[in-house]
């Protein structure tokens, strides 16, 4: 029962934080430096790991698809399979999971430290709302950077699949044929759906991580626990939301 109450409490405080951050939306132009810094941390520094993972996810997808589909002569459709899978599902989910693991944990750790060491209390004392200078720039930055990460993840994954499709002996599909099939069976709407999903996941991840960080109580040990809790909650929310957002976008 206590766990259920904790869950509801978490939902409530997250929504409250969102409303508080939204109420300070007008102050965002004055926080340009913070916004740029968060964009740099969320987007630019996350790019290498997103690119590497996307490349290999696309490659493995092509490999597995080629292995499975060669049995019934449909391996020429690997391009469309990899393209649709990356754009509609794997790209957004992978970016969101990387955000939760790399950015979300960092946000939670930073805010939890500030909370534990009473920096947040100091801000409140100075009549500076934490939601304005600690949450709003991060939410704005994630909204701007996640689509960029997602589209890069999609494209790198497609190219990874194309390289595998050409160079693996039992697949041997030329890149022209691979991308021709990809183009034939894909619409930009598929990519757009993926970007919307990634945007949703990224926003929720950052919001949840900010909320858990700002609600940390206790000593330094609680900082680690808060980070763990934030990452786990983010991953669960990503996968739960994935179903509902996908269903809503169909």
């Amino acid at each position: 029962m206590k766990a259920i109450i904790t869950v509801f409490e978490g939902f409530g405080s997250t929504l409250q934080l969102l409303v508080q951050a939204a109420s300070h939306l007008g102050s965002l132009p004055r926080q340009r430096a913070r916004f740029i810094e968060q964009c740099y941390l969320i987007g630019y520094t996350t790019l290498p790991i997103v690119a590497i993972l996307s490349f290999f996810i696309g490659s493995v997808l092509a490999l597995q698809a080629g292995y499975s589909m060669q049995n019934f002569g449909a391996k020429q459709f690997i391009g469309s399979l990899v393209g649709l899978s990356m754009a509609r599902e794997l790209g957004p989910v992978m970016v969101a999971i990387l955000l939760a693991g790399r950015v979300g944990s960092a946000i939670t750790a930073e805010l939890a430290s500030m909370k534990v060491y009473q920096e947040v209390d100091a801000l409140v004392t100075m009549n500076i709302p934490p939601a304005r200078i600690l949450v709003l720039p991060r939410l704005a930055a994630v909204l701007v950077m996640v689509p960029v990460l997602a589209i890069i993840a999609d494209l790198v994954g497609w190219f990874g699949g194309a390289i595998v499709a050409k160079n693996v002996a039992f697949i041997s599909i030329e890149p022209e044929a691979y991308f021709s099939v990809l183009r034939r069976y894909m619409k930009f709407q598929d990519v757009l759906n993926g970007l919307i999903k990634a945007e949703t996941f990224g926003f929720v991840v950052v919001l949840v991580c900010c909320n858990i960080g700002l609600n940390t109580r206790g000593g330094p040990r609680e900082i680690g626990a808060a980070v763990t809790r934030a990452v786990v909650a983010s991953l669960i929310l990503i996968l739960v939301l994935d179903y509902f957002v996908t269903k809503a976008l169909m």
Binding site: A33, I36, E37, C39, Y40, G43, Y44, L47, A74, F77, V144, M145, P147, V148, L149, I151, I152, D154, L155, R183, R184, M186, K187, F188, D190, V191, L195
Partner: protein, 330 residues
């Protein structure tokens, strides 16, 4: 890292994202953000099958446009074809949905139409024709397979029997078993005959083995050919004669085709009949000669006398011959 560098990197990163999004959009949607180029034609079908927006429109195998839109229009389905600017479609050209692959890959194929036909105006409707899709083909194949299966079943029953009535093989087996002695005898006879043939015995054997017979046969055939040539020549001559007869030339032609000659012939036959009737009745000198024995007797007597007179002339000499003849005769 100073603030300026950080801002520059974030800006570059964001622009990179925008550029990639734009490239993806252009690649997958053909840049529909702008007003599409070319002109639209409407093609109505009973069913669009697997046709979807973005599929190609080809003329004689060359891509000339894309399917811009698919829609239901009353009791039929319509595809709006976006044809490239500069490509003229003849008004009598026909559109059909063509299957490019077994798994749902279709495009609209246009034929060239006639060279003299006027081009279709933008927005007008193009003629269409129905082509069988893979489902229809598979249905036909299934029906064919069922028919084939039935035919093979019937054939199998007739060959192998149906359990109650023996089949062809059983009947053959029974026949062979029953007549094995006769078949053995027949085979022995055949073997003896072929042996004789092989040894050159009998007419057929000689014909097969003796080259003389062969030569004679060839000569006979040559003669038959020569005879046939002559017969052909004869027939040609006969045809010539017949042609002359038909043209009324010659005696036979005149006889057959000349009316006056026919009348003369009739009159001659009538005269001949009258003469023969008189002869039969014994009228006239010749008739009497035929019917009256006294004339024969008198003639016989006269000849005897002449014979004697000639004999007397031989004995008396020529001087008294006239007197003897006269005496003998009178």
């Amino acid at each position: 890292m100073n603030q300026l560098h950080q801002t520059a990197r974030v800006g570059l990163f964001f622009l990179l994202g925008l550029a990639l999004t734009w490239v993806t959009f252009e690649t997958l949607s053909g840049g529909k953000l702008f007003r599409p180029e070319g002109y639209a034609l409407v093609a109505g079908f009973e069913s669009l099958k697997e046709l979807k927006e973005g599929d190609e429109v080809r003329m004689a195998g060359v891509k000339i446009g894309v399917i811009e839109k698919t829609r239901l229009a009353g009791r039929r389905a319509e595809a709006v074809l976006r044809i490239d600017a500069g490509t003229k479609i003849a008004s009598d050209a026909t559109a059909s949905i063509i299957m490019a692959g077994l798994i749902g890959t279709n495009y609209v194929g246009l034929d060239l139409g006639s060279a003299t036909a006027a081009p279709l105006a933008p927005g007008s409707e193009i003629r269409t024709k129905v082509t069988p899709d893979i489902n229809a083909i598979m249905t036909e194949l299934s029906a064919l397979g069922q028919k084939l299966e039935g035919a093979l079943g019937t054939f199998g029953t007739s060959v192998n029997g149906d359990g109650k009535n023996p089949g062809l093989f059983q009947k053959l087996d029974q026949m062979v078993t029953t007549n094995s002695v006769r078949i053995d005898a027949t085979m022995a006879n055949l073997q003896a005959i072929t042996g004789k043939l092989n040894r050159g015995e009998g007419t057929l054997g000689k014909l097969i083995n003796d080259p003389t017979l062969h030569d004679e046969l060839v000569a006979a055939v040559g003669e038959i050919q020569s005879t046939a040539t002559q017969a052909k020549s004869f027939v040609a001559d006969a045809q010539g004669i017949l042609a002359q007869v038909k043209s009324g030339k010659g005696a036979l032609g005149a006889l057959v085709y000349d009316e006056a000659a026919a009348q003369d012939l009739k009159a001659a036959v009538a005269n001949l009949r009258a003469v023969s009737d008189k002869l039969a009745k014994g009228e006239g000198t010749l008739g009497k000669l035929l019917h009256d024995d006294t004339l024969f007797t008198s003639a016989q007597s006269t000849l005897r006398k002449a014979d004697r007179a000639l004999d007397g002339m031989g004995d008396s000499g020529p001087i008294s011959a006239v007197g003897i003849v006269a005496t003998s005769l009178f």
